[in-house]
């Protein structure tokens, strides 16, 4: 439970998250709000713009080490990738190649690509994935933190999947197609988007951690995400053929093992989790204890 007075990662905005994640006062923003790099497209739709186009990027320090950081603002248009938003992330990733920081952190909070700027958004997703691969090949870990309202969906889910390591909280969600998209395309019998417990059993933080879709499980606090990020930076494996082949093998095994299960609970039971029914209600500590020893591990390749 978030104690009264404590900052909740889920509730915090992009700027707040950066401020509490990094070393105090260490953050220097690139293309800050006063530069007014706003979407050229939204006014055509009669929609309001944001001074930072819903993403904050810049340099800072994490436990004394230099890092680059990007944080999406999930409350502005669901944190969606528009042209400027995407270009800021891609630009930051490319900056990483020249600056070689200790890590590049992406604080995801996105529903995917902004419909009004879909072409530019989709392009940005592809460019971001390419840039992450380049950066990882150059030995800079790219760490994703997922614990906001919007989760990491659509193209954001793809970018998250490209990271060296992911930390997720219980409220965080990682997927490509969102619940409503699945329901619309396949019907409510296939996936009832209003059944939020089902949504979280399928895409939520606990499930992703158990099946190795995320590498660290954080509480809904800045301290916990900070600790998780530091751990993931140190644990990042080399981005080489051996890592990728090991991950490919793991994913094939996963399909064999869980391919015909119909619900997250069945997956957890097969993993050997004690009391799969109790997983959604379990506290963070109890959950971590249950996951210990039986969760799948992604070996930092995904």
């Amino acid at each position: 439970m978030s104690a009264p007075g404590a900052l909740s990662w889920y509730e915090a905005g992009a700027r707040q998250r950066i401020a509490v994640l990094l070393d105090q006062s260490s953050f220097a923003e690139i293309l800050g709000p006063a530069e007014r790099r706003m979407s050229p497209h939204l006014p055509l739709f009669g929609l309001p713009r944001a001074f930072d186009d819903g993403i904050v990027v810049g340099r800072g320090r994490l436990d004394g080490r230099p890092v680059l950081v990007a944080a999406q603002e999930g409350r502005f248009m669901g944190g969606a990738f528009g042209e400027v938003h995407g270009a800021k992330l891609v630009g930051l990733l490319r900056l990483g190649l020249t600056e070689r920081p200790a890590a590049l952190l992406i604080l995801f909070d996105t529903g995917g690509v902004r419909l009004q700027e879909a072409n530019a958004g989709e392009t940005a997703i592809a460019e971001a994935m390419r840039a992450i691969a380049d950066l990882r090949a150059a030995g800079v870990p790219v760490i994703g933190l997922v614990g906001g309202r919007a989760g990491a969906y659509g193209g954001g889910g793809l970018v998250a999947g490209t990271c060296s390591g992911l930390a997720v909280s219980e409220a965080g969600r990682i997927s490509v197609s969102g619940p409503e998209v699945i329901e619309t395309n396949r019907g409510a019998e296939e996936f009832d988007a209003r059944d939020r417990a089902l949504v979280w059993r399928t895409m939520g933080g606990k499930h992703r951690y158990l099946i190795g879709g995320a590498d660290a499980f954080a509480e809904d606090t800045p301290e916990s995400f900070r600790k998780a990020a530091l751990g993931l930076i140190d644990a990042a494996a080399p981005f080489d053929l051996a890592t990728l082949e090991a991950e490919q093998a793991r994913l094939e095994r996963r399909l064999d093992r869980f391919g015909e299960t119909l619900d997250g609970r069945d997956v957890w039971a097969r993993l050997g989790v004690n009391d799969p029914e109790g997983i959604p209600a379990a506290t963070d500590d109890a959950f971590r204890a249950s996951a210990e020893g039986c969760r799948e591990s992604a070996r930092d390749a995904r």
Binding site: M1, P4, L7, A171, R196, A197, G204, K206, A281
Partner: protein, 548 residues
């Protein structure tokens, strides 16, 4: 039989007509339509149990499927118009007259059907009024009710959502009426007898469990800083000053924010044990932190709330429970408690005019009243004193011997100056008046009359209407807290400042509250998950409120 037993004879004839479809009292769901067609007579007064939460939905579907050639011109007398079937019966001609209390989700369709003349309206009542009329001149001939389970004899267990059932059955069964219950299950032995078998004539095993709407779940994640600010003002400026112990809350976010501030801001103000101890209230999930922190002595409930059953069961010191352990709610008794035993009602509304009249009716929606007017009124039949009641009475003024002076119930409207879609909450003229004109109603549907309202809380401040001495002062006090609405901008600034000097209008700073301190981190719970943790895992929220 003498000429004095005609109603009983008619009742016996109905039972005989239904008997061929029944095994004892039990009727299959598939035969429900045939049963209703057999026992109902044209022009019958029928209560189709539609409560605030619990719906006799299986019987509603059956009634809507009746042949209008056989069953027509029924007079529906029920508190809630909630399901589409409740209105479908007026489309088909099965029913033609209506007396009701509340029509939240169907409000727009009710308004349309009234204006089309498809429904002949008796009146829109408060719950207590409608219940009262069940015993005087709107006594049902047939009651179609809902319960959780029945045994072979027809003893009923209503479960935590007892709600209107005992009242409806009392009025029907003891005045030669017929009671038909739909139940989710037939059991060997009911957990407790809420309705004895000799008041039940037929039992229909429903095809699926009756629907219950989670009406009282307010997600703390959706509470705004403005609502936190208003809750702080209400606690410091009203609850603390009048030492309010016995109270009822409406269902809005503003009052839910007050519930969530008790263990934090209330604690800081040193109010624990001094306020908010005894409640007439549905089991609001947002009250859990206050209960767990030891603020709440007891709560009597109108109905229940989805997901709260286990929590209530484990807190029998606080809630009213049966020998089986589950909640026993009762709308009629709880409304009476809210009317007579509470010193404060605080709730929200959609529109307030310059005299303080308020209404939730808009031009296109006839939402009805429910219980707010009962709770939100000063009962002239009250005779017992309390410090809160007497203090409010003193503020209202008056002459003569103090021992002959009435106290006043505190009736507080807590509203944000602008509602959804930037609709102003303060208006020169209530939409309810236009609504009444359109439909030719003699009485505009006013939720709380201005002379019952004692305080209005907005984000701009608190207006204490008890201290106003004439209509002018009232109007300026209301304008003085109406923010940037046209009503607010139309204020006489100098007069509002004079009212402020007299404490009639009070700003946050007058109460020692800094608006910038009104932060969501003050809420004892900021998510539904927090509420689950507070409850020790006993609260099981509906799926749509979860994010885990």
């Amino acid at each position: 039989m003498s000429a004095w037993g005609r109603e009983r004879e008619a009742r016996d004839a109905r039972i005989t007509a239904g008997r061929s479809l029944a095994d004892g009292k039990h009727v299959a769901a598939a035969d429900a339509v045939a049963l209703l067609e057999a026992v109902l007579r044209p022009g019958d007064r029928v209560c189709l149990e539609g409560d605030n939460q619990k719906q006799a939905d299986c019987l509603a579907r059956a009634l809507a499927a009746c042949d209008p050639a056989r069953v027509h011109d029924l007079h529906m007398v029920q508190s809630g118009i909630v399901l589409p079937e409740h209105l479908d019966v007026f489309e088909t001609g099965v029913a033609s007259r209506l007396d009701y209390s509340y029509s939240g989700p169907q409000g727009a369709r009710v308004a349309r059907m009234l204006s089309e003349g498809r429904i002949r309206l008796g009146a829109v009542h408060t719950y207590l009024e409608l219940f009262a009329r069940y015993f005087v001149d709107l006594t049902p001939n047939v009651a179609l009710i809902a319960a959780v389970s029945a045994d072979r004899e027809g003893n009923l267990y209503t479960g935590p959502n007892t709600e209107d059932t005992p009242t409806v059955v009392e009025a029907t069964a003891f005045k030669n009426g017929l009671v038909i219950a739909q139940v989710n299950a037939i059991v060997e032995r009911v957990p407790r007898v809420d309705i004895p078998a000799d008041r039940v004539d037929f039992v229909v095993a429903a095809d699926r469990p009756f629907y219950v709407e989670p009406l009282f779940t307010r997600d703390p994640a959706a509470m705004t800083e403005t609502q936190v600010l208003m809750a702080m003002m209400a606690l410091k400026g009203i609850y603390a000053e009048y030492a309010i112990t016995r109270l009822n809350h409406g269902i809005g976010f503003g009052t839910a924010a007050i519930e969530l501030l008790l263990p934090t801001y209330g604690e800081r103000l040193g109010l624990k044990g001094k306020i908010a101890t005894h409640w007439a209230l549905n089991p609001h999930p947002t009250l859990i932190p206050a209960i767990e922190s030891g603020w709440v002595k007891q709560v009597h409930c109108f109905g229940s709330e989805v997901g709260m059953d286990r929590y209530i069961r484990e807190r029998p010191d606080v809630f009213f429970t049966g020998a089986d352990g589950s909640l026993r709610s009762n709308r009629a008794f709880c409304q009476t408690a809210g009317l007579y035993a509470c010193d404060l009602f605080i709730g929200s509304t959609l529109q307030i005019d310059l005299a303080g009249h308020s209404s939730t009716i808009t031009r296109s929606r006839a939402a009805g009243f429910g219980g707010a007017p009962n709770m939100g009124s000063d009962p002239h039949g009250r005779r017992h004193p309390s410090e809160t009641w007497l203090k409010a009475g003193r503020e209202a003024g008056g002459n003569g011997d103090p021992a002959l002076r009435r106290g006043r119930k505190l009736v507080v409207q807590i509203v944000e100056t602008f509602g959804e879609g930037l609709a102003p909450a303060f208006v020169e003229r209530l939409d309810a008046l236009a609504f009444a004109e359109t439909l030719g109603l003699e009485l505009a549907p006013v939720m709380v009359y201005g002379d019952d309202v004692t305080h209005i809380v907005t984000e701009e401040g608190i207006a204490n209407l008890l201290l106003c001495r004439d209509a002018d002062e009232r109007e300026q006090a209301i304008r003085g807290v109406a923010g940037y609405t046209e009503v607010g901008r139309g204020r006489d600034r100098a007069m509002v400042e004079r009212l402020r000097e007299r404490g009639i209008v009070r700003r946050p700073e007058d109460l020692g509250i800094e608006p910038l301190d009104a932060d969501r981190s003050l809420l004892a719970a900021r998510s539904i998950k927090d509420l689950v943790h507070w409850s020790g895992g006993l609260y099981d929220p509906p799926a749509r409120f979860r994010n885990w």
